[in-house]
Symmetry: C2
Subunit: 351 residues, 2 copies
Amino acid sequence: MGVIGGRPNPVVAAPMAGGASTPRLAAAVSNAGGLGFVAAGYLTVAQLDDRIAEVRTLTSEPFAVNLFVPGAPGDVADVARYAERLAPVAERYGVTLGEPRHDDDDWAAKLDVVRARAVPAVSFTFGCPDAEIVASLHEVGTEVCVTVTSAGEARIAAAAGADVLCVQGMEAGAHRATFLNDPASPTGGELIGLLPLLRQVAGAVDLPLMATGGLMTGADIAAVLAAGAVAAQLGTAFLCCPESGAPAAHQRALLERSYPTTAVTRAFSGRPARGLANQFLLDHGPHAPAAYPEVHHLTRPLRAAGDPEAMSLWAGQGFAAIRPMPAADLVATLTAELAAALNAATARWAP
Amino acid sequence: MGVIGGRPNPVVAAPMAGGASTPRLAAAVSNAGGLGFVAAGYLTVAQLDDRIAEVRTLTSEPFAVNLFVPGAPGDVADVARYAERLAPVAERYGVTLGEPRHDDDDWAAKLDVVRARAVPAVSFTFGCPDAEIVASLHEVGTEVCVTVTSAGEARIAAAAGADVLCVQGMEAGAHRATFLNDPASPTGGELIGLLPLLRQVAGAVDLPLMATGGLMTGADIAAVLAAGAVAAQLGTAFLCCPESGAPAAHQRALLERSYPTTAVTRAFSGRPARGLANQFLLDHGPHAPAAYPEVHHLTRPLRAAGDPEAMSLWAGQGFAAIRPMPAADLVATLTAELAAALNAATARWAP
């Protein structure tokens, strides 16, 4: 029984890079018997090291760290065209667009940090680390999880030695974890619903699976556990906890249901991600290039201007069921709900 | 406890118009403790009457009938352009394209048949019957189910007096049940995964919900029961049963996994539907107008030419898990699997 799947409660607070995943949130969830995450993406190496240390001051329970796997640069001309398109928007907000540089999110140095800190579990997004890296993590006792969006990606992760997979359905908020950022696919590969994807991945590899994508209630968690998952990872559900670092405007848009629907877009970061369908997403999504993190850097000043119409309001398809409550209470609520849902279904259909 | 949701086994064989849903299949599923369907779509009124009578000779258990709700005609010029596009394809297959006529699938006369036959349950697809029609079905003791793909459609169905809703996730094979055939939406409205859609619909109306979309195994059924559904409707799962009337080439494509993915397309019928992504779907889907059933009639001779590359190979996202076995065995297998899945999850997480 590993870290993921071996917790008293099968509730994992998803890594949400960019601010939402605070050490307080991670520790609160782990202390409540679930599993909290430090989201390494966009942090400096020193910040990552500090956050891991901070979580350890707040909990003696296991926790996990999520790393972004670096990818290839996007097309420079495409990025320049997108920057031209956004120039009038920047002028309107009185900001200067960011420098659309390519980088690897300090991949090697962040790997060094998680190895040096021997964190209990590490998950990967946007790709699969090679077998040597997986082995080096195993050497320091770290459990390795790879996030996948297809059976093909699951096979790659299994071959690299992953201990557990995070299976991300098309319902998921924020970035899709697809290994490739294929310009030919605006949605980042085939959009597969969580339940059929779990089935496809279970048919392809023999590894424990954590389910993620659109899960908000204990009954949702009960569903994926009944489908065979060993744990459920929830992001959006934790965005309005007091421990969340998500911007107030983001939380307000979720709680007030300011936008009725979500959509997958490259508008904000250059990688497909699901967010509330605000004006910026609708206006620019169809024109955004597959260039990550170039577009992320380019749009950062726009997103920081404070107008929700131009912010990346990440949200999964279940967002309307969001509940603003302390993370520990949310974990306890979800755990009670999932037990009730399983008991009710079992009493009726498998007495 | 109604017909749907009140059966010994929560397994419903979906209505599959166009041949797959035979009276033998419906009766076999109902006799096995599930619920079988007669698919009225495309049948003549006399055929519908005959099939209902035939089911009654094969089972004394409850069964259901599905009716297509008629919609508005498509744009004639758009249909003509699509016919021009398909002319060389027809020539290649040595067939003449069908007459792209609009019709209402004999709506009024088919309603008369189901009322006269007082069938136990009727479900509707492509729209919601008005309250008077629902009341007229209630008068003869018929349970009324409306298929929905959004919370908004669920509210309309509840207001019309529906007894139960069939909640169709984006994973579902064949036609999406969206009420409107909106040319602006190539996929027939927002593509929402089954679990978040169940949550959204449960938040909007207080009716029992049957779940459908991508469900293939007992563990899949256990998942939606744990999520709160009262029954699970499976279409693709029954396509390769010996009682299925699906064309041999369709069954072969599913069993041999001739195509790796599915996609939603208007290419074959003029309404969004999910099928295996064959050449015709890829070539013509992006150009097909929102005109149903005009495009259905137009492409019929092409689809009947016998080449799987030009057939509508309807399939849900879970199709790779298809099992060719007698329908009664499949219902028994699914029922045993769902009980095992619920028991395992409950033993681990809600002992």
